[in-house]
Chain length 165, copies 2
C-alpha cells in the first residue's frame, strides 16, 4: 500500500548555482565506466549464453571446461580465480558438473588440502563443441563491430585489468 507521498511539487524553482563544473560534476549514470562495463558485459554475455544454449551449458561451465582443457589439474582455489567465481559458488557448480560426468576431482598428492580438477573425456568433447560456438560469437562481433575496434577494446580492457588489480 503506497500513498502518493508528494511526487508532484518538483521544486524546479530552486535552481541552485549555474553548476560549478570542476569540484562536483554530476554525470548521468550512462557516463560512468562501471555502468558501461556492466551494460556491455551484460549484453555480450547474453549473446554468448544464447549460443551456448544449444548445448544447454551456462557460460560459467564453459569457462571451467575451457580452463581445464589444458589437461593439467587445477586446484579449486586457482580455478575459482581463473573462472571469476568465488569458492563456494565454484564448489557447488563443480558438484553439478561432476554429476554430469564432465569433470572429476582428484586429491592433490603433494598437498592433501587441495583438490585438483580435471576434465573428463565427455567434458573434453563438449568443450570442443562449445569452443566452436564461442568462436562463432567472437567472429560475429569482429565482423559487426570491426576488427580494429575489437582489438583495441581488448587491449584497453587488459590494460585496465592490469591497472585495477
Amino acid at each position: 500500500m503506497q500513498q502518493a507521498q508528494h511526487p508532484i511539487h518538483s521544486n524546479r524553482t530552486i535552481k541552485s548555482q549555474p553548476v560549478a563544473k570542476s569540484p562536483s560534476r554530476n554525470p548521468p549514470i550512462t557516463e560512468h565506466l562501471a555502468y558501461l562495463l556492466a551494460q556491455a558485459n551484460r549484453e555480450i554475455n547474453r549473446q554468448l549464453e544464447a549460443r551456448l544454449r544449444d548445448e544447454g551449458v551456462p557460460v560459467e561451465q564453459w569457462r571451467i571446461l575451457k580452463v581445464l582443457s589444458d589437461g593439467k589439474g587445477h586446484s579449486m582455489g586457482d580455478l575459482a580465480d581463473e573462472v571469476l567465481l568465488n569458492h563456494p559458488t565454484l564448489t557447488k557448480m563443480i558438484d553439478r558438473m561432476v554429476s554430469d560426468s564432465l569433470v572429476y576431482r582428484v586429491q592433490d598428492p603433494d598437498d592433501r588440502r587441495k583438490v585438483l580438477m580435471y576434465s573428463s573425456e565427455r567434458g573434453k568433447a563438449l568443450t570442443q563443441r562449445l569452443n566452436a560456438l564461442a568462436l562463432s560469437q567472437e567472429a560475429h562481433i569482429a565482423e559487426s563491430y570491426g576488427d580494429k575496434a575489437t582489438a583495441e577494446l581488448k587491449r584497453l580492457l587488459e590494460s585496465l585489468i592490469d591497472t585495477a588489480t
Copy 2:
C-alpha cells in the same frame, strides 16, 4: 579424440597436426572479449562496491537512486532497463528500498497498469553522498589508468553497446 583419461600420464606424445590456424584457432579464454569484459566488470564493480559500503548500499541501489534523481517518475519496466535488472529482481529490490523509505511507488494515473517510481527526500540525500563516492572512484581510475585511455575505453564500450543491441 585424445585419450588423456587419467590425469597423470599426460600423453604429450600425441601432438596432433601442427595446428591449422584459420579454421579453428583455439585462443585461451583470456583472449575472449566476453571474458575480458566479465573480468573488468567484476573488478571495477568490486571497487565501487567497496566505496559504497560506507553507506551500506549495493551498487544496484545506487543505480536506481541515480536514475530516479531526475525527479521524474519512472515505470518499473523502464527502470529495469535503465538499471540493468530484470523485472522480478527489480520489484523485490524496490520492495526493500521502500521499506527503507528511499523510494516510493505511485500508480500512473494515465495508465493504471504502470507503477511510477520516485525518490524520497531521504533517497535524494543519500544519492548525493553516493554520487560523491562514485565520482571519487571515477577520479581514481582516471588517475591510475590515464585520462586518455579512460575516455577511449568509454567510447569503445558505448560503440560496442550500440552495435550489439
